[in-house]
Amino acid sequence: MIENRNIAMQGDDVAENVRKAFEMNRPPILSIRDLTVSFLNNETWTPVVRDISFDVGRKETVAVVGESGSGKSVTAMSVMRLLPAETSRVQGSIMLDGRSLTQMSDEEIRDIRGNEVAMIFQEASLNPVYTIGFQLVETLVRHRRMMRNAALAESVRLLEKVRIPAARTRLNDYPHQLSGGMRQRVAIAMALACQPKLLIADEPTTALDVTIQAQIIELIKHIQQEDDMSVLFITHDMGVVAEVSDRTVVMYKGDMIEAGPTEQIFHHSSRPYTRALLTSIPQLGSMTGKSEPEPFPVVDHTTGEVTPPDPADRSVVPAPDPMLRVSDLTVRFDIRGGLFGGVTGRVHAVEDVSFDLFRGETLSIVGESGCGKSTTARAIMGLVKPKSGQIRLDGGELGELSAEMKVAMRRKMQMVFQDPFASLNPRMVVGDAIAEPIARFTDLSARGVADRVAELLELVGLAPDMARRFPHQFSGGQRQRICIARALALNPQLIVADEAVSALDASVKAQVVNLLLDLQQRLGLAYLFISHDMAVVERISHRVAVMYLGEIVEIGPREAIFENPQHPYTRTLLSAVPVADPSRRHMNRGLDETEIKSPLRSVDYVPPRLPIREVAPGHFVRQVS
């Protein structure tokens, strides 16, 4: 049967190629030549995009991919002429269907925007005070000069087109009543309202959960085929690129590194930067058959030289007692409302969570937004108060200790946060930030503290003289290293990393993951690694726990979870991860509009306690209701 599907796919490919070949002969819809964009900064013009040239053909998807600061969004904005005229300068030519966008008057360009070129953004740009129906009708009346009744009917059709269930009743909803994925669907419907020839999608799935991201990508692919639209897709995620694009433009720090068919870029790229970008992206499945964590291989950006991962033994030394034991942890948040502020509902953030963590081991908690993974971490760190349950660290129950002992105990575990820009005090030099806990909790002299700070900075791969700098003088990856150094200041045994690498660019992410693995090896640390990024989790963890609606639905050795997932939710999660293999692009995964359920419940809700089954040694699965 699988073979049959393959043959069918090949047939599709042939038809696809014939169609493409036909389309190739027509002039491209968008043609960018020698585009240079400069910004006015302190009275000098600094180019942020240099000499970019590429075409977007008819019915073609072109992805512009690059890390933050590569100029990919600026390129998209300059096509829409959305850059402020006073502080930016656009040189070169941008032709849309044979007309020059750079030479148009403001009136003409306004006519182009929305009608011929539409744009969707990372956050769905909907007006919060109007219903989505009103906004759709308004757009149709203004741009397509439709009568109100016709516009209403067309709105329903558009919402159905973006696969919003019960479209007619949804028209009266305000944007805040919809989930993030639904809002992005509505934004796409708005963009489609005027039947644009070109859709510019600027990181449209970055803010979404992985299962929702898969849905939106699938939706964009479907709509493109249905409407014969061209798509310019801006993203930082090579996995997404492989899923959507026919051709790919790789950008790095304002320069175009290369442009070409996606297959060629992925398989035969000659440019070191592209290869570095590709090896640094976590590829799900690259760890199949390995039971221990393994660092990412490192590729040099300029020479293309590959340093293979360090093949050290990363297995956990068996110990009789766990270092951290969490049992029956439950955290609920009251939702207050009404005239007298009574409890109207409860968020069951964490429900009956139990696990052990051993010395030198990494346990990852994965799940989508609202599943309670961060709350679990914060409850362990004492940042939120659990409703019930026990947290034992080194045999001591945290709830029973005196306040002083508790503080002393807590110092054995430290946290690394997601946002490297918010987790350092912007008005304190980083040396002081690292020195603060050392000076307070040890009797080292000023000299000794300074030496320890230098030692910690070297440990995380930074120069000791950087201690005198302020956080804003560092890049995101460097800041995250500083946060790790600060967390290590008091020699903790456990590091709780809450989405610690999620905000970083792919190549930097790989480096920080390697650093964490290296530190674990040298210091015997245990990690509780909270992440939604399955591919990073696959690299770093010994064991994985999958959370859904506040509960752990599956926990076990990493190999078992990734290669033999038992719970249906784990399977959904794994299949939603974009795969960096362009040959799978034409596979149709089918459209799905399941939403992530909310853990918000009524006051009298009693959660069902479903039994847990051990399917293999150490591999536990919660029964499906």
Partner: protein, 307 residues
């Protein structure tokens, strides 16, 4: 040419900021001509107040230097006995209005600055505490703030001074009681945003004591909006002090501030002795206006809380 420079834009721009954050802030500030004018005027006024004894022909508070024969001279008249010119005229006791204005400025400025700064310290500490601790502490502090702000400031100040009596110390005390609530509210608002940021949680995780979280982590990050409020509140305090003195409950008659000078001359306004009230009035106006110009610009500079 731009190859090396642009390859690390983050480092170069950061280095520029590092060169001198103050100079950068001043550069931003100086973009507004009006604010620059306000700053120059304010500096002039402050200097005039500080160096008053060297700039004036007479000490208006020293009764020995006053000559009743010089009373009520219009601007430009020469003194009968002392040989200097009353540039802005004199009052009924022969007090030189120009000298009285400069000495009055000293009192007004000192009262304004001390009361605003004290109120800022008291208010910000309570506001930070409210934001960080939360719960009952927060409700208590914030209900007090609401209570304070629900009364008209002038009424509260009048009541306090009516009970405590006149005097510079009492005026300062009254102004602090009236103004702390504004700072507490602003500090709490800013601190609430900052408390949710991860660097505060990181400090919590390390088990640092509350004192160092409040003063080493939270406070420095809440300073910019507070600076703006301090400047505005100094101007407010000066005008409130002038009002209180005008109403006769402020500073003592022997050491007139600007408000009292205006009050003294007020009764002669319709007798054509305009200089008694108008010149102190202009001085008060110029002081408050210049402080407000500077404050407004500071708000503009600090508001886009960049970097």
């Amino acid at each position: 040419m731009s190859g090396t420079q642009s390859h690390n834009p983050l480092v170069t721009s950061a280095a520029k900021v590092e060169a001198s954050p103050l100079a950068h802030a001043f550069h931003q500030f100086a973009r507004s001509r009006l604010a620059l004018f306000g700053l120059a005027l304010l500096l002039l006024i402050v200097c005039a107040a500080i160096f008053a004894p060297w700039l004036t022909p007479q000490n208006p508070y020293d009764l020995m230097q006053l000559d009743i024969l010089d009373g009520m001279l219009p601007p430009g008249e020469a003194s009968m006995s002392q040989g200097f010119i009353f540039r802005l005229g004199s009052d009924e006791q022969g007090r030189d209005i120009y000298s009285a204005i400069l000495y009055g400025l000293r009192i007004s400025l000192i009262v304004g600055v001390i009361s605003a700064l004290t109120a800022a310290i008291v208010g910000s500490v309570l506001g930070l505490l409210a934001a960080y601790v939360g719960g009952r502490t927060e409700s208590t502090i914030m209900r007090l703030v609401d209570l304070q702000l629900s009364f008209p400031t002038i009424l509260v100040a009048l009541m306090i001074l009516a009970t405590l009596g006149k005097g510079i110390t009492n005026v300062v005390l009254a102004l602090v009681i009236v103004e702390w609530a504004t700072f507490a509210r602003a500090a709490r608002g800013t601190a609430l945003v900052e408390t949710r940021r991860e660097y505060v949680e990181a400090a919590d995780c390390m088990g640092l004591p509350m004192r160092s979280i409040l003063f080493r982590h939270l406070l420095p990050n809440c300073i910019p909006p507070l600076i703006v409020i301090v400047t505005v509140q100094i101007a407010k305090a000066i005008s409130l002090e002038a009002t209180l003195s005008f109403l006769g409950v402020g500073v003592p008659v022997t050491e007139p501030s600007l408000g009292l000078l205006i009050a003294n001359g007020y009764q002669f306004m319709f007798a054509g002795k305009y200089w008694l009230s108008v010149f102190p009035g202009i001085a008060l106006l110029a002081t408050i206006a210049s402080i407000n110009l500077v404050g407004d610009r500071l708000r503009d500079v600090f508001n886009p809380r960049g970097a």
